[in-house]
């Protein structure tokens, strides 16, 4: 409430004081959230400047590139490599369909890598054009906040530009984090993993999150030996436990060595490669060690503390529901705020920011029912609550519908891998609280389901939808019998 009034008040001020600022908005960081906010603000009529570091596939304090993590070091190159890797098993499956292929198939990593880089360079160009078409002024260099309405951009040649802006938006994203273990400099992060000169023969991956399982799948699909180490019993903490077990089983079946509840303690360079030691005393030799141990907000070199922008203990910029920081003229969206670190969420935050500040329509991003996908092979996709979350939050009983089936393609290919789907339903209201799927095409399938959940669709509405036959997705509308009913009423709300 107070926030809205503040915004309105400022709108009025804007009318009187507009002329005093070089820009209505200056955005630091041209990734998903920053570009979206900049473009939309410009479309609302704001005068917008944006700064970004020079382009490079591997990021550092001084290099980055328009497009940001998603386009240059995340979603896009990752998905390209997943496509490339998925052909490995696809081609195996072709044999039982009558295709005669050479025993050993040639794969040229350098070609894939080269084409991947070409594609992200192309996208980098498209993003730049998007900005210029929207009338946003792009500066190349490192941005810094020097006052509540003042930014400084250090250009490549060292010269510094200084601009005043009515609003400043921080959208600098995040970067991969390395664990503090001896020899950590021998390991790589996902940035380098997307640009390796050679395909690893034996890769060690540390981490149980989506980045870890995605890279494990990529390398395994392309023929590498992969050992995956993670702290918990199952990978993908935070996802539905049943689905985590399904992913673990699939990874293992496809030949990835899983090491649950295991950490790495030391890396040592040897003539044969990197010697990896675990806290269980095991030793392995690998040519690549990937740290997929989380990402940290990129907030260090922005001079935020000096101007009074508060950070939390992980370094994330603290913001209110409208993405405003502790300084009223400074805002932040995307991974740097560490809310929900997904491209489409950063886009939503950027859009809401532009609406709030320049569209006279205070808008809060809505974090309920945000779908997401893990591009492991096969992929996992979810929307809404996991079974555990549903039980935790339920007032009444929770109904769980699951379906485990052999996808039709496998009946001939002979691949032994089941697809698993799950709906979690509130017994009282019949609302579908959560949906998850692990199996081919899961992310594509889940998008439409997400629309239904966003609008509070009931199980009855799912049931009344006719299936598309034969598809995997039709299983979501043909789950007739409850797999289990969990009585939550009166149950103490504790988690394991």
């Amino acid at each position: 409430m107070a926030r809205k009034m503040l915004v309105d008040e400022e709108m009025n001020q804007t009318n009187q004081e507009e002329a005093h600022y070089d820009f209505d908005l200056f955005v630091i960081g041209a990734g998903s959230g920053g570009v979206r906010a900049a473009r939309f603000s410009a479309n609302y009529g704001a005068k917008v400047g944006i700064c970004e570091l020079p382009f490079h596939p591997i990021s550092s304090e001084v290099i980055g590139g328009v497009g940001g993590t998603c386009v240059i070091r995340g979603c896009v190159p990752k998905k390209i490599l997943v496509y490339g890797a998925a052909f490995g098993s696809e081609l195996e499956d072709a044999r039982n369909y009558g295709w005669e292929l050479n025993e050993k198939l040639d794969f040229n990593w350098k070609k894939l890598l080269h084409k991947k880089t070409d594609e992200i360079i192309r996208l980098n160009g498209i993003y730049k054009r998007l900005l210029s078409n929207a009338g946003v002024k792009l500066f190349e260099g490192e941005g810094k906040i020097v006052g509540p309405n003042e930014v400084e951009v250090t250009q490549l040649d060292g010269t510094k530009l200084s601009y005043s802006a009515k609003h400043i938006l921080i959208a600098t994203g995040s970067r991969a984090h390395r664990p503090p273990i001896p020899g950590q400099e021998l390991g790589i992060t996902s940035d380098e993993a997307l640009s390796l000169e050679d395909l690893p023969k034996h890769a060690v991956v540390l981490g149980g999150g989506y980045i870890a399982v995605e890279f494990a799948s990529i390398w395994r699909g392309l023929g590498a030996n992969v050992d995956l180490f993670f702290r918990k019993e199952l990978p993908l903490r935070g996802f539905d436990d049943e689905m985590r077990a399904v992913v673990a089983r699939n990874l293992e079946r496809r030949g990835i060595n899983l090491h649950p509840q295991t950490n790495l303690t030391e890396l040592i360079k040897t003539d044969n490669g990197i010697k990896v030691t675990t806290d269980h005393g095991e030793e392995l030799i690998a040519d690549v060690v990937l740290f997929a141990t989380g990402r940290l907000p990129n907030s260090k070199r922005l001079n935020l503390e000096a101007v009074g922008v508060e950070l939390d203990n992980t370094g994330a910029v603290k913001v209110d529901e409208y993405s405003r920081t502790s300084i009223p003229s400074v805002w932040a969206v995307g991974d740097v705020t560490n809310r929900m670190n997904l491209t489409p969420v950063a886009l939503m935050e950027g859009t809401c920011f532009a609406k709030t500040v320049f569209g006279k329509e205070p808008s809060k991003p809505d974090y309920s029912h945000v779908p997401c996908a893990v591009f492991s092979i096969p992929p996992l996709s979810v929307v809404g609550l996991s079974e555990e979350q549903a039980i935790e939050q339920a007032n009444g009983d929770v109904l769980v519908f699951t379906s485990t089936f052999n996808p039709m393609k496998n009946t001939v290919s002979g691949r032994q891998e089941k697809t698993v789907m799950k709906l979690v339903v509130d017994a009282e209201t019949d609302k579908v609280l959560g949906a998850s799927m692990c199996g081919p095409d899961a992310p594509e399938i889940m998008q439409g389901i997400a629309v239904a959940l966003q609008c509070g669709a009931t199980k009855a509405q799912f049931d009344s939808t006719v299936g598309i036959h034969p598809s995997a997705a039709e299983e979501f509308v043909t789950m007739r019998s409850v797999s289990r009913r969990i009585t939550c009423r009166g149950k103490p709300k504790t988690n394991l």
Binding site: Y97, M408, E444, V451, G467
Partner: protein, 561 residues
């Protein structure tokens, strides 16, 4: 995929319990059936419990009959029947209705012809068209044929083949047929487990309560006709040289050069299959475009994409004759000329209901001019004790619709819950390459029905194609009612369309608005996310000048919000 329901049939005992709890019931009389007296007769149920001659292997404490179609005037004495339901035809609709009826406590028999991959007057097989001669084998062939495109794609991702991948036809046929055998076995098992009596043979209706199967008579309180449809072959000279879709799914060797006559989904699916399995494919269509009845833009788009993959379309050409030459090759004569040298000519010129020789006319079951059985909204024919579901009624000829009709019928008859199948927003797919997924109205239908609509389209090169270098594109379309903001049509052509459309079908069926779509966060990077990120309409269609004025006003108001 349906294979689950095969391997793990879910028997809905909770429903049965509900039924018991609610018993006795008073049945609301559906309007269309009100000329007959319906009510529950507990006496009758008990009577039947003692007398029906078939006991399912498991359960039931008590037989329940929700609906009784007899005259209650006392004119007819209570009659004993061999079965509560006798189903003719064990395809999707028949099996579903029979299983569900048995689960609801009815004694059920189903008859079906002996198994064969090619249907005839004397062959068929448990599983029906979908499992043996339709959806399933077709999809398996699509999977097989898609690989040639995937090989091309994989080149762009760094994969290399020292020798061009070759396809061995017989391996595919053997593996496909093994799967069909497995499935027909599973279907039989499902019937058996549900306590349904399976009778092999040709069923024919003798009177409103009697079915003759190869000379043996069975009486039933209700008879269900679910005999499906069969390919229709137009009467042209040389038609005996042509193959239909049954044969096309089970050819002994690869067709080198094939002509496909027809522009419907079956024609397009087979064009994709044969093209992918490296045949030379020519498609002959009567109209300018393929897929009559589909959204016009989709029709254009899929035709273009298929042509890019090497399929040759011959538009506005109707077949007139097929000629076999001395060397055994076939020529197709059309209104525009003759094309020679085909190894196979496939006629994909529609399907017709299988209503011949069922004894329908003699008992008074009315048939329309296409041979389809006329039914009311509850799938009841003109004879009160005879019902029909699936393709034989020629409503919407899709497996999931037959399943819906079968399930609704079982509820109507045996669960005291008169249920009409709901034909609104039935999604469907065409497994052409690229495939199509759709739900709701086409743009043309939407304009007719709603007048004022907003159309959102996207036509893009998917991420995979930017790497593969192939000319693949994706087309998506949302049709929104201008007045209510409801999404009334959704269409897509491109990779994964069929899978993508399903979830959106839930949303469209639930009557969700464009604003609801917009409020949904995308899944990145997918093709599907495009459906929730379509921000500005490609065009706004306004009917009358009067409503245009109104719309202008509304639009302004909306923009001001």
């Amino acid at each position: 995929m349906a294979t689950t329901s095969f391997t793990a049939p879910k028997l809905s005992s909770p429903t049965f319990q509900t039924l018991c709890r609610n018993f006795p019931l008073s049945l609301p009389i559906p309007k269309t059936l009100s000329s007959f007296s319906f009510h529950l007769s507990p006496f009758l149920s008990r009577f039947h419990l003692h007398h029906h001659h078939y006991h399912p292997p498991r359960f039931h404490p008590r037989r329940l009959f929700a609906v009784r179609a007899e005259s209650e005037n006392g004119a007819e004495p209570i009659r004993h029947y061999d079965f509560d339901l006798f189903t003719i035809g064990a395809g999707s609709g028949g099996v579903r209705a029979s299983r569900f009826a048995a689960n609801f406590g009815a004694s059920v028999a189903v008859c079906e012809l002996p198994f064969s991959t090619i249907s005839s007057e004397t062959t068929g097989g448990v599983g029906g068209t979908c499992v043996l001669r339709g959806c399933v084998p077709k999809k398996l062939m699509v999977y097989a044929s898609k690989y040639s495109h995937e090989f091309d794609e994989s080149n762009g991702f760094g994969w290399k083949y020292d020798t061009e991948p070759k396809h061995d036809w017989s391996t595919l046929m053997a593996n496909k047929n093994a799967e069909l055998q497995r499935l027909t076995g599973i279907y039989k098992n499902i019937l058996n487990k549900a306590g349904v009596t399976l009778i092999e043979g040709r069923g024919k209706i003798v009177d409103p309560h009697t079915v003759d199967v190869d000379g043996k008579l069975y009486t039933a309180r209700n008879i269900l006709i679910s005999v499906g449809g069969r390919p229709f072959i137009p009467d042209i000279p040389g038609r005996e040289y042509a193959i239909d879709s049954d044969a096309a799914l089970d050819l002994p060797s690869k067709p080198e050069k094939v002509a496909i006559v027809g522009g419907g989904y079956i024609a397009l699916e087979f064009a994709g299959i044969f093209n992918g399995l490296t045949s030379e494919v020519h498609v002959f269509i009567r109209q300018k475009k393929v897929l009559r009845g589909f959204d016009e833009e989709i029709r254009d788009f899929v035709g273009e994409q298929m042509a890019l993959r090497g399929i040759q379309f011959h538009t506005e050409e109707s077949p007139q004759a097929i000629v076999k030459s001395a060397d055994g090759s076939l020529s197709l004569k059309t209104n525009k000329g003759t094309i020679e040298g085909f190894s196979h000519i496939m006629l994909a010129t529609g399907r017709r209901p299988n209503t011949k020789n069922l004894g329908l006319e003699s008992v008074g079951v009315k048939i329309n001019k296409n041979g389809a059985i006329e039914v009311d909204e509850y799938s009841r024919t003109t004879v009160p004790s005879i019902w029909a579901v699936g393709d034989v009624t020629d409503r919407i000829n899709l497996t999931p619709v037959a399943l819906m009709e079968g399930a609704a019928l079982a509820k109507t008859l045996f669960q005291n819950e008169p249920t009409k199948p709901d034909y609104r927003a039935v999604p469907s797919a065409v497994f052409s390459q690229p495939p199509i997924g759709q739900v709701g109205l086409t743009e043309e239908q939407a304009i007719k029905e709603y007048g004022d609509i907003d159309v959102y389209t996207a036509n893009f090169r998917p991420l995979k194609a930017t790497l593969s270098g192939l000319p693949d594109r994706v087309f998506m379309k949302l049709i929104v009612c201008a007045k209510t903001n409801k999404v009334i049509g959704l269409h897509m052509c491109g990779e994964d369309s069929a899978e993508i459309a399903q979830g959106f079908a839930v949303a469209v069926k639930a009557g969700l608005t464009k604003a609801d779509f917009d409020a949904t966060v995308g899944i990145h990077p997918t093709s599907a996310e495009e459906f929730v990120t379509m921000r500005s309409p490609t065009r706004k269609i306004r009917q009358s000048s009067e409503s245009q004025g109104n719309m202008g006003h509304e639009a302004k108001t909306a923009a001001g919000v």
